[in-house]
Amino acid sequence: MGTNTTITDTDRDRDSDTDSDLTNDICDLSPIPTLIVSPDYRIQRASKGVVDAWHRRRDDFLGKDLFAALYGGSPLERFDRIPLARAIEVAIAARNFRLCHAAYTADGVSYSARIIPIFRRDELLSLMLEWDPVEPKTPETRGEVIQHALSVDEVFRLLIQTVKDYAIFLLDTRGYVATWNAGAELLKGYTKEDIIGRHFSTFYGQEDLSAGKPEDELITCLREGRVQDEGWRYRKDGSRFWANVTITAIYRNGVHVGFGKVTRDLTERREGELRLIAAYEESAKLKNDFLANMSHEIRTPMHGMLSACALLLDTNLTEDQHDMANIISESGQVLLQVINGILDYSKLASGNFSVNTDLVGVANIISSVVRNVQMTLLPGVYIKLVLAPELPKSAQGDPLRFRQIFQNIIDNAVKFTEKGSVQVAASISAEDATSYTILTEVTDSGIGVAEDAVQNLFKPFTQLEKPTKKRYQGTGLGLSIAKSLAELLGGEMGYKPNLERNGSIFWFTVKLKKIANLDQLDAAGVQQQEKEKSQQEAEKEKMLKRLKEMAPQKRILAAEDNLVNQKVLSRVLNSLGFQHVTIASNGAEAVSILSASPNTYDLVLMDISMPVMDGFEATRKIRTYGNPIPIIAMTAYALRGDSETCLEKGMDDYISKPVNINKLLQKLLTWLDSPEWSKSVTNGPS
């Protein structure tokens, strides 16, 4: 039955019953499954084809609702009907036939419907649905049928185009934008026309660009197949958003054809994080302020109470009363210590701590504290004092703070030592024209510090002893206060295990100013010379001080094969204040350390001639991985050509061997002294 004969509109059709019967018969007898449906979707006729091909009875259809007859009983009936219902609507609206693909399935065969609306003038008389099998297929391959019909590429393109929350786009092999979806348009503000053909580095900020981040990402992506990153990206209008980016390398038949890039806007999450941090800082400040105020307020009545208690103890008391007054007094003393600790801590934390300048007699202070502490030693514990003879009799500094630091670490040593000894040693660890650095070391044979607890030693409100034991009292503030004080006095504090006797060694340094002695400067010439010398010294000292201030935060990797030189180099670096120095004994080791943790180190010192892999080759490898870390070559004295070669080979600087401390100091300052650092120094103690 052809379509061009179906839409008939002649008087003859209307008047002739015979013709109508014939038409009905033709329809009924058609071998093609055919349904005649009224405008209200009642099935009026069903052809022989329906019965034969679908193996269903006519009664299943006649007089029934079209959709109920076709899809009735299917659990997903309400979805099944959607395409056919829509196609019928469209056909009616267009007054022309429409196809509906795979609208019905019988015995595993899909049938497409050709929907023919039949009009007389403007009145819809009937719908004729003819069904053709799509292609005989087994149910297993049905998925393919749909895929063939839809074309996979087309589908994915459509899917990606419509994603609005993610920017999804393709880059060619060199990073030029090749596709652009709706999400990208929304997120980045560029329209498709703006951006296709431009380079993806357009989205990065200046800082990332000069750090070479976009190219690094492509390189890493090619090496690892995929790369993920978070950072600021910039929209067309210049505003920025915090992006999470995943780049995937795309290969077709083993050939790299480009990159897929998915970007998510995490600005809200990032802002949330920043707000949290700000809130945390604010609350920490409030806590410190509160602690400072409270401790101060509590101290005054506390002193009153303790004084009264002392007076009370001098009066005539019965034995019981005396005992109780003693308990009040002792508990009050402990409470006062706690309060003082909290007050110091909150002052240090808020930076409101003042350092006085007065005369300090190191030996006197240490001996006096040791004498006091002797009273509190547990039976069987003895104390040993070693004072270096060259300790200055007097120098300028803050004697009270010095005493406080020392008192704190020796109190700890005594508290935690139940047998054996506590040894105190004081010496000059460094000296220049204007100052001494005094090193005080307290070694005990006490309980020691568990390896995993060392990192928490100097954190405020931490007591390492497990709380269940409760053997030792205190706020856990002592060490953190002492460390901050030592730093205020221009020194440091640290811990190392006492390997010999299974206890702890706590040490601290402070810087004391020399007292100028005018008698020594008799002749004017000498004076001038001394002045120049001391200016030079002062300059050197200034550099040393700067380096020492930043050194503890910096990590150095040194590649050197000779054991003797390794030891000397580590010692030199330690003496300059570096605490994190890793030694690699050849170039290959250095490369593998750096590639395992590329962001751990701040600088590399690289010997040139080493076994396995020399310094040049190692540098080349490090640079190939895109690591921009400063590399200073250490070149042997005799091979003069080396110096120039070093710079050619990708190193940043060189220093001749044997390494001179002052030279090394200069070079390290040049390469480690970053602008951020000098900013932070202005906030430091003066």
Binding site: A388, E390, S427, I428, S429, D561, N562, L563, V564, N565, K567, V568, R571, V572, S575, D607, S609, P611, A636, Y637, A638, K657, P658, V659, N660, I661
Partner: protein, 149 residues
Amino acid sequence: MALPDDKELESILGDGVDLTTFKQILEMDEPGDNEFSTSIVFGFFEQAEETFERMDVALDEKDLEKLSELGHFLKGSSATLGLIKVRDGCEKIQRYGKQENLDGSPEPDADVCLARVKEALMAVKSDYEEVEIGLKKFYDKDDEDEDGA
């Protein structure tokens, strides 16, 4: 201990030691002991003796490349300690081992090079012995000082 003055040092150590460099090592000691510098210097003795033995073996095997490598190796540590004569001797061995003359020009005759290495090795060993005696004397004397104090 306080650092001895240059004259005193020179009289003990002889002219095979560059005082500026060696004093830099001494300055790394903690005040009051020479533990660090002693460990370095005596570590170097061990290293030197071991290296000389390996040089002897390499000389027997006529392995010029190995000799050059060993020369370079010991040059590094001797330079660090300021042992200039040993350092210069090691550099000669390094050069000859690379089949070079002292000015860096190539010397194609391997036998000539081996003979020169042999000569240089003898010289460097005696330079080493001299400086070893000096350094041992220096550290012994130091112990006496401390005992006396």
